[in-house]
Amino acid sequence: MATVESTAASATPAAPSRLGALLHAIGLLRESRIAMLGTFLVLFWVAMALLAPVLPLLDPNTPLEPFKGPGDLARDGETVFWLGTDHKGRDVLARLIWGSQRVLVWATLATAVAYVVGMLMGVAAGYLGGWWDEAISFVANVLLSFPVMVLYIVIISALGASGANIVLAVTFASAPGIMRIVRGLVLDLKTRDYIFAAQTRGEGAWWIMLVELLPNARGPLIVDACLRLGYTVITIAMLGFLGLGLPPPDPDWGAMIAEAVPTGAFALHAMVVPAMAVSSLVLGFNLLADGLREISLRD
């Protein structure tokens, strides 16, 4: 924080490194235990997803030996089913880790698309105001008045179960909420002098919205994005559970739970393990969001 006055005013100074700033920001996370725990949980699953191709895992889609318990040996006497197998004899650990890759990819993608749409709606409604605001807010209110569950089922059953349609469904359900947050932030930000300054130098509406306004709304939005990532993970798991998720046979956490339900207590691990995976990832995102909020409020 030291204010170093430059002695050679005429010299052309060099640009400072961005890496340093990034490391400093990560360092701040250490101030909140909650944020550290959340980061750990999220990073754990991200690492699993990234390492899935190189880990010595069994094939997630090949039926081997059904109903093996956690830690059981295979018939060859060497292979260990660390988390057991499901009713079809597929290795739960392999399915869990490959499943983490799928859920993280689609949850991130869906949230990102919802954010792009929601932010554009919000910034336009907030900054342009008037007729734009009324139209966009009306659309958002109509979408928000649908029960989310019905919205998902209608969209997916009409268009078919695929990753792209999940993204679409999540966007429809989340964008109105994001729009409201962004609109609120923009209504406050647009009264600042720097917006006035941009207007008085004749900047266009797009420039002001995208360059002057949105970057300053990022603080609360990052926290909200973490929370929303968690919700989207739940949504994807729920859709998988209802059979509306990503198409089989690739592993999907929600579908894994659904498949294990009929066997009940006979293969409880096949149900409990993916359920715990969903909870831990969602918990990770929520704790991270809480921690970030806590850090940002501290002085």
Binding site: T3, P13, Y194, T200, R201, G202
Partner: protein, 694 residues
């Protein structure tokens, strides 16, 4: 010393905040003594710890603040050792506090009267009827018009000045022995401020309440206090009687403060303000020895940087203490500002001409009641009949209080709004109907603006370089990225900022530095006219002087016309060549600075001049306190805009007819009073000959 026991005594008070960065000592070894019936002023710039002292007296420092050492004794009892319950009894009944923002001190969902009644109900367990009686009486005591209506009103239904009076009434209801006022008038307009100051002075006379008055404004301290404590970087540097300290200041920092405020006699060309170099050190970066050392012109290595400097009494004047080892050696007479001879460029041809400018807003009322009544559209007359010219290299000040239409006028000139009627001619071209999007980039570059709030003027997300560079590119000054960069570096040189600020983000800059960047940005397109909307009002006085000086220098080199919008008449007198006084959308008076500041006056200008506190014991002012508040532009009074508050109102004619413009050469006054009568007015401000050394 007096035999009476002091109401409050702070001894060797040390207060620290505990944050991320560790312990931050906000106040160091602070002593304060308040005698019964005495008003003590604490003055200092932001970050000097004056508000922390107030909060510490209330024992109200939040989670991370703590008194580390020292004592605060209230009537002999040590407050640092009291239990929470004892403190609660004391707060609000024996010690009351008035904060800066009145709206934040009042509960918006409770009627004013109920909030007042709570005080005697809670502290003295009186009956409802008696509480009501006393609350109403107190509302009368703080001279609120129509106390019964105010009693039943909600806070948002009364004006800012009235709110502050209610807060003061609430503080006085428990009949406290000590009243702490923390910048009580900073959020108010000058004429309203004058009323509050008047009230505060009456309180000390009538109730004998001791007061601690915290302010950054030396003039206000002079008008309200008996003794003064000057604070710098967490410690008291000078203590004494107000008159003594003001006339014979013995600390270089106090001297610096006085040299950087525009007192009568200062002149931007002959006797410019002298800013204090450098900036306030952060609490954990305070230097060894004298905290003011690095910024002090009398700094002597080996003496000023050795250990703590004690408070010493000034020889020959009891009660006057100073924290400086060299005070006795400094030749204070020689240190007075010297005359300079800067010759400004003479005013050139007319650059900007405003002719009969009108700006009306229509606000539509969508409520059901409005639909039933058939109304629904009301007109806000923000600007009426604005007529004036600005010449090249000239500074024209537009003066007025909130709601006078000066900001609307700026918006119309900048093209963010179009005029309802009239012309704004820049370089021979009428821009009144051309919004900024339809102006050519060069035209936009000719007319730029410096904004008021340093914390808002720069976009926090982008680097300084990117923000200035964008303007250079936008106005077509340069297009090659390398040349843009070079131009930005030159602009940073012009505003005297180091070049590596190019890569800084606004949050890494102080308020004054941000304002310099704002000036660099405004001058990036080589403008002909710069509109400066209160460019220094949010800055500390020592920084104000530097930024004002910079603005004048750049203006002189570039021969720019400066439209200086301000409510600060001292600064206007110092800076402006011509003055335009606005009230409720009208220009009530205009002329050269000398003409406006001397009789004949418009009655409003006269009151405004009288209301401005001046930190100079030699100045004698006429005492004019306006009644009431500025009317709303939605519902302006008929006839003369000023008739509702005018102390020189003639009668019915003022209420029915718009006054004629009385002209005295270039000097024009909008008033019904005959020119001959106007000429008989006495000057508001008189400077008495300097008192001999005591």
């Amino acid at each position: 010393m007096a035999a009476a026991q002091p109401i409050l005594e702070c001894e060797k008070l040390n207060i620290s905040y505990f944050t991320r960065a560790g312990e931050i000592p906000a106040v160091v070894d602070f002593d304060l003594k308040v005698m019964p019936g005495e008003a003590v002023g604490i003055v200092g710039e932001s970050g000097c710890g004056k508000s922390t002292v107030a909060l510490a007296i209330m024992q109200y420092m939040g989670k991370n603040g703590r008194i580390v050492r020292g004592s605060i004794r209230y009537k002999g009892r040590d407050m640092t050792r009291m239990s929470e319950e004892e403190l609660r009894q004391l707060r609000g009944s024996d010690i009351a506090m008035v904060y800066q923002e009145p709206m934040a001190s009042l509960n918006p969902s409770m009627q004013v009267g109920r909030q007042l009644m709570e005080v005697p109900l809670v502290h003295e367990q009186v009956s409802e009827a008696e509480a009501r009686e006393r609350s109403l009486e107190m509302l009368t005591n703080v001279r609120l018009p129509d106390p019964r209506r105010i009693f039943d009103a909600y806070p948002h239904q009364i004006s800012g000045g009235q709110q502050q009076r209610v807060v003061i009434a609430m503080a006085l209801l428990s009949n406290p022995s000590l009243l702490i006022l923390d910048e009580p008038t900073t959020a108010l307009d000058v004429t309203v401020e004058a009323g509050i100051v008047d009230l505060i002075n009456q309180i000390s006379e009538k109730f004998g309440t001791s007061m601690i008055y915290i302010s950054h404004n030396l003039g206000l301290i002079m008008e309200t206090c008996d003794r003064i404590t000057v604070m710098y970087s967490g410690e008291a540097v000078e203590v004494g009687e107000v008159a003594e300290v003001f006339d014979h200041m013995r600390h270089p920092y106090t001297r610096g403060l006085f040299s950087s405020i525009p007192l009568p006699g200062a002149d931007k060309n002959a006797r410019p303000l002298i800013a204090i170099p450098g900036q306030l050190p952060l609490p954990h970066q305070r230097p060894r020895g004298c905290y003011f050392g690095p910024r002090c012109g009398y700094f002597q290595p080996g003496r000023c940087d050795q250990g703590l400097i004690p408070m010493t009494g000034v020889a020959g004047s009891p009660g006057h203490d100073v924290r400086c080892v060299r005070y006795a050696e400094i030749d204070w007479e020689a240190a007075k500002p010297k005359r300079q001879n800067t010759v400004p460029p003479p005013p050139g041809p007319v650059v900007l001409e405003v002719q009969n400018l009108k700006k009306y807003y229509e606000i539509s009322d969508g409520s059901v009641m409005a639909l039933i009544r058939g109304g629904g559209v009301r007109t806000v007359k923000a600007n009426e009949q604005l007529d004036f010219v600005a010449r090249e290299a000239e500074t024209v000040a537009i003066v007025g209080e909130s709601g006078c239409g000066k900001s609307t006028f700026a918006k119309v000139v900048m093209g963010l709004e179009t005029a309802t009627e009239g012309r704004v001619v820049l370089n021979g071209k009428d821009l009144a109907q051309t919004p900024v999007q339809r102006r050519r980039p060069q035209t936009v570059g000719l007319l730029q603006m410096v904004f008021q709030n340093p914390f808002d003027t720069l976009n926090p997300s982008h680097s300084i370089g990117a923000q200035i560079g964008r303007v250079v590119k936008k106005f077509g000054v340069e297009s090659d990225p390398r040349k843009i960069r070079q131009r930005v570096f030159e602009l940073l040189d012009t505003v005297k900022l180091p070049r590596d600020f190019y890569y800084r983000k606004p949050r890494q800059l102080s308020g004054g530095q941000k304002q310099r960047v704002g000036i660099a940005r405004a001058f990036a397109g080589n403008p002909k006219v710069v509109v400066a909307d209160e460019p220094v009002s949010a800055l500390d006085v020592s920084v104000q002087a530097a930024v004002t000086q910079l603005l004048t220098e750049i203006q002189n080199t570039n021969k720019t016309t400066l439209l200086f919008i301000s409510h600060d008449l001292s600064l206007v007198r110092y800076l402006a060549d011509r003055v335009v006084v606005m009230y409720l959308g009208y220009i009530v008076e205009q002329g050269t600075t000398d003409e406006v500041f001397a009789p004949p006056y418009h009655p409003y200008t006269e009151a405004l001049l009288s209301a401005v506190p001046i930190a100079d014991t030699r100045v004698k002012k006429k005492h004019i306190v306006l009644q009431g508040d500025i009317p709303s532009a939605v519902n302006p009074p008929p006839g003369c805009p000023f008739q509702t508050r005018c102390p020189r109102k003639l009668g019915a004619i003022c209420e029915t007819e718009l006054p004629p413009v009385r002209t005295f050469g270039e000097h024009r006054i909008l008033c019904h009073i005959e020119p001959a009568e106007l000429l008989k007015m006495e000057p508001v401000i008189q400077i008495l000959p300097e008192r001999g050394a005591a």
